[in-house]
Each structure stands twice: as structure tokens, then as C-alpha cells.
């Protein structure tokens, strides 16, 4: 569990960490849009430089970013193989005993790889520099204008935050149940198919039973403390935009607007 990097929060003291999570989400979405718009190699180069600056400002190690990208390697290789086999346009780059690899296969793959890598780095940057709870609050705030059309912004945020709160508890619980069943001779590694099904059932059923119990207790505790799903509340955590958030957003908007302008006018 401790090796999973994707989506993990890294507690550091940096400008990026201190930034308003709403500003970060908006910046991320804007940059993702820019990546979707085909801005060409130079455009991607500029975006990459910008993101690397942000990674540097967030005090994240390149090693960490690399770890986040690693799980994608297999997918990228797979993509390359497919493209090499399927795409037969452009000029011939290599000819191995009559098997021709065309230029488009390589360039198109490279193009997709660049875009994917950029997207992963951006989202990793967001999750690594923002506490999950802060993200939840930001999502609630950003969704609140859509309340008018029936988006239950608060309920969504409450659900995410309770899920986040109980993930470690449930992990602990599942480990405990696993050990208890192992003591009864359950072997999760070996055994016939039927035995394996039983082994999994012996974990899942108790986990469900105890989760329902927890959910019941939790609902009681929340209600007893005056929680009223539809009612008014004053939120303790308030987010505030400060100067650095405006500056950062301005930079991102400027960059993306510039890229779009060059694209439309055909300079790049």
C-alpha cells in the first residue's frame, strides 16, 4: 500500500501546497483543456516547462513524478506496438526484412505519450500538493453554483469525506478479519477454485456486516450531533482566495489563451 504514488498526498511546505485548492482545480482543468487542444510540439514544450516549474515550486522530487508515471509504461508500450502494426502512413523509417515501420506510427505514438504524460503529471501535482479533505471542500464549493440545477454539492462532498475518513479504518478491519480467518485455516494463496471462493467469501461477508454496523452507528452519531442533510450549516473550513491564487490563475489563463491564439492564427 505504501508504494502507491498515484493520488497520494505528500505533506510539504511549499507555495503550491498553500494555494487555494479551488484555484488548483481550476488551473488543472484549464491546463487539461489546453492539452486536449492540439497545440503542436512547441505548445506542449511550453506547457511542459510550465508544469515542471510548478513541480519544482511544490518541492516534489522528480523521482516521485517518475514513480507516478511508471504504472503507465505498460500501456504506452502496448500503444506503440498497436500503432506500429496498424498505422502504415508517412514515410518508411526502418525496414526489417520487409517489415516496415512508418514514421506516422512513431510520431503519433510520441504525440499521445506526451499528452498522457503531461496529464498524469498535472493531476499528480494536484493530489500530491492538496489534502484529500481540502479537495473535497473545493469540489463542494466549485459545484455549489450547480445546486440550482439539482446537483447535491454538499451531499457529494460529505460522501467523499466520510469515505476518505473510513478507508484506513476499513483497511485495518479487513486485515484483522483476514488474520482471523487464516487462523481458521483459510489459505488465500493456494487451494482449489471452490476453496478460493470460500476464502474470499469469508472475508467479504464479515467486512460487509461490520461496515453496515459502522454505517448505522455513524448515522446515529451524525444525527445526534445535529446533522440535518437538507438543513443549513456553517462550514468550519472556509477557503479564501489570496493574491498568489489570482496570480497563478492569471498565469495559467494567459498561457492557455496565448496557446489558443497562436493555434487559431496559425503561427505555430
Amino acid at each position: 500500500m505504501k508504494n502507491i504514488v498515484l493520488g497520494r498526498y505528500i505533506p510539504l511546505d511549499s507555495v503550491i501546497h498553500k494555494m487555494d485548492p479551488r484555484a488548483k482545480i481550476i488551473a488543472m482543468i484549464t491546463l487539461l483543456v489546453a492539452i486536449f487542444i492540439d497545440t503542436g510540439y512547441i505548445g506542449y514544450g511550453i506547457i511542459a516547462a510550465f508544469i515542471l516549474c510548478a513541480v519544482f515550486l511544490a518541492k516534489l522530487k522528480l523521482d516521485f513524478v517518475w514513480k507516478a508515471l511508471k504504472p503507465m509504461l505498460f500501456m504506452l508500450c502496448f500503444l506503440l506496438v498497436i500503432n506500429v502494426l496498424v498505422l502504415k502512413t508517412g514515410y518508411v523509417l526502418v525496414d526489417i526484412f520487409g517489415f516496415k515501420i512508418y514514421s506516422d506510427a512513431i510520431f503519433q505514438t510520441l504525440y499521445i505519450v506526451i499528452r498522457l504524460v503531461l496529464m498524469i503529471i498535472i493531476t499528480t501535482l494536484l493530489t500530491a500538493s492538496t489534502k484529500p479533505m481540502d479537495l473535497t471542500i473545493a469540489i463542494e464549493d466549485l459545484l455549489s453554483p450547480f445546486k440550482v440545477i439539482g446537483v447535491p454539492a454538499h451531499d457529494i462532498a460529505m460522501m467523499i469525506s466520510i469515505a476518505l475518513r473510513f478507508i484506513p479504518t476499513l483497511l485495518e478491519e479487513s486485515q484483522r478479519i483476514m488474520k482471523a480467518q487464516e487462523s481458521r485455516g483459510v489459505d488465500l494463496q493456494e487451494g482449489s477454485f471452490k476453496e478460493k471462493v470460500m476464502a474470499i467469501l469469508s472475508l467479504i461477508v464479515p467486512l460487509f456486516v461490520s461496515s453496515f454496523q459502522r454505517a448505522d452507528d455513524l448515522a446515529n452519531a451524525m444525527e445526534a450531533r445535529g446533522y440535518n442533510p437538507g438543513g443549513k450549516r456553517v462550514r468550519y473550513k472556509q477557503l479564501k482566495f489570496v493574491l498568489r491564487d489570482y496570480i497563478m490563475l492569471l498565469c495559467v489563463f494567459g498561457l492557455v489563451a496565448g496557446l489558443i491564439a497562436t493555434k487559431v492564427t496559425g503561427i505555430l
Binding site: 487462523s183 485455516g185 476453496e195
Partner: protein
């Protein structure tokens, strides 16, 4: 000697920033046929010790001899199943390990995992249920709609059905009412006296230690601070104070009376003996 710890250490998540040494070179010998209490504050390493007994945790150093098998730090024991059959481990809140549709099936689950035939497993399950005091009317009921104490009995029967020689229980009375707790401890006493099981019980309840156990092991910060007979343990109230343990009511009463000048010997462990000693003092 069925259980022996030799210089056993256990470290959680070694070689990481979260590394934590829960047991530190402990030596411990547990006598056969007795009820031994393992006491100590939360986080002292009691549960870690217990989980070594059936190789759920392996020592990072040292070795453990359980009956005729040796668990070493270097290798994963090959005869894991045989070991787990010999040492039945009942976890805290064991009612959360029930999952089958009927009580009989749930209790038979353990023996079946150890390769016992369906019929024999059922037989063993029936015997185990009888031991914990649940009759045939329970066989076909769902384990989920029993009371808390009954569920716990079913879970313990599930371990007993594997016919272990050693029964290890991690806080078996937690969450039960006083009457239920007493019945539970009475059950272990019966299993010990009548069925000859060696019993190890992790507990916080000193009244239970006084009433039901033969020996006491005190665990403190990953070390064995004390391993004495019950009589020795309760003779010296200062030992308990040193181990940050609240003595049972009778021992507190004995100490209070001694402080008031009553001549009561430290060997007094029961109300009957206490009153006898008092009368001597008065007369």
C-alpha cells in the same frame, strides 16, 4: 513445555521510516495445562506476542517452539496448517468472523479447511457447540441473528472444532456485560479443567485474572516485565502499582485495611480468608 519464546524480537515495517519494534528479545516459557493471563497496557505488545503463536506474524529475530514445531525468523514454516490446527487463536470481537448461512456450517468451516471430511467436520462442530453450551436448536439458525454473547460462543466453537491443544484468546470478554463475561471465563476454566486445554488469555480485567488464571505474564514496552504465579502476583500490591495495573477490589480492600493497622497477611486472596484474618485481628 508446549510453548517457548527464545530471544524473540518483532519489528513492524522494518527498513522504512515507519519501523517500530513491538517485541524486544523476549524469553518466555508457557506451562502446559494451565490458564495464563497476559496483561499490560494497550500497545505494550500483547497482541503481537499472541499472533506469533500460530505464525500469523513471524519473528524478525529469534525462534519460537510451539508444541513440536519451531517457528524461525529465517524461514516460513512449511507445516503452517498443522501448526494452526494445534494453536487455536480467537481474535478480539471474534463475532465479526462469522459468515456462513448456518451456525453449524460456520463452526465446521475450520476443520474442513484442515482437510477433515464433511461429515467428520459436522461431528466436530456439534461437539464444539456442545462445549460452549449451544444445543441442537442452534444448528440451523443464522449466526447473524444471535445476541452478542452467543455470537462470540459460536466463534469460539469455530476454533474449538479444530481441536487445538492450545487455545489463545485476545480480550475475549470485551464488550460483554459482567454476567456474560463471567460465563465466558467459566467456559475457559471448564475447557482447561475438563478438556485439558492449555489456555492463554489476554485481558485487562484483574478480577478475572484473580478468579480464573494460574499464571500472570506482564508485558511492558515490548519486554516481559514479569512472569509469576497468580499468588505471587497478587501478594505484592506494589508490583501491580509498578505495572500501572488497577488491583482487584479485594486486594484494594486488603491494602486499605492494612493501612488502617489491621494485621492481614499478603497471602489473603479471597473474601473468606480476608474475613478470617480480620476476625483474628479483632479477637
Amino acid at each position: 513445555m508446549p510453548i517457548e519464546f527464545k530471544q524473540v524480537s518483532h519489528e513492524y515495517s522494518p527498513n522504512t521510516p515507519f519501523a517500530y519494534k513491538a517485541l524486544n528479545e523476549i524469553d518466555l516459557e508457557l506451562a502446559e495445562g494451565k490458564i495464563t493471563a497476559i496483561v499490560g497496557a494497550t500497545g505494550s505488545g500483547k497482541t503481537t506476542i499472541v499472533q506469533h503463536l500460530n505464525a500469523l506474524l513471524l519473528p524478525t529475530q529469534g525462534e519460537i517452539v510451539v508444541v513440536d514445531k519451531t517457528i524461525k525468523s529465517t524461514e516460513k514454516p512449511k507445516n503452517l496448517k498443522a501448526l494452526r490446527k494445534q494453536v487455536g487463536l480467537v481474535f478480539q470481537f471474534p463475532e465479526y468472523q462469522l459468515f456462513e448461512e448456518t451456525i453449524l456450517k460456520d463452526v465446521a468451516f475450520g476443520p474442513k479447511n484442515f482437510g477433515v471430511s464433511e461429515e467428520d467436520a459436522q461431528e466436530k462442530a456439534k461437539e464444539a457447540l456442545k462445549m460452549v453450551g449451544l444445543d441442537e436448536t442452534f444448528y440451523e439458525r443464522s449466526p447473524l441473528d444471535l445476541s452478542g454473547g452467543q455470537k462470540r460462543r459460536v466463534a469460539i466453537a469455530g476454533i474449538l472444532a479444530m481441536d487445538p491443544q492450545v487455545l489463545v484468546l485476545d480480550e475475549p470478554t470485551a464488550g460483554l456485560d459482567p454476567q456474560g463475561a463471567k460465563q465466558m471465563m467459566g467456559l475457559f476454566e471448564m475447557l482447561n479443567k475438563k478438556h485439558g486445554k492449555t489456555i492463554l488469555v489476554v485481558t485487562h480485567d484483574m478480577e478475572h485474572v484473580l478468579d480464573y488464571c494460574d499464571e500472570v505474564v506482564v508485558v511492558e514496552r515490548g519486554k516481559i516485565a514479569m512472569h509469576v504465579s497468580k499468588e505471587e502476583f497478587f501478594e505484592d500490591a506494589s508490583l501491580m502499582v509498578k505495572a500501572n495495573i488497577n488491583p482487584p477490589a479485594i486486594i484494594r480492600m486488603r491494602t486499605m485495611l492494612q493501612e488502617k493497622g489491621f494485621a492481614i497477611p499478603n497471602t489473603v486472596l479471597s473474601l473468606e480468608a480476608l474475613v478470617k484474618a480480620l476476625k483474628k485481628g479483632v479477637a
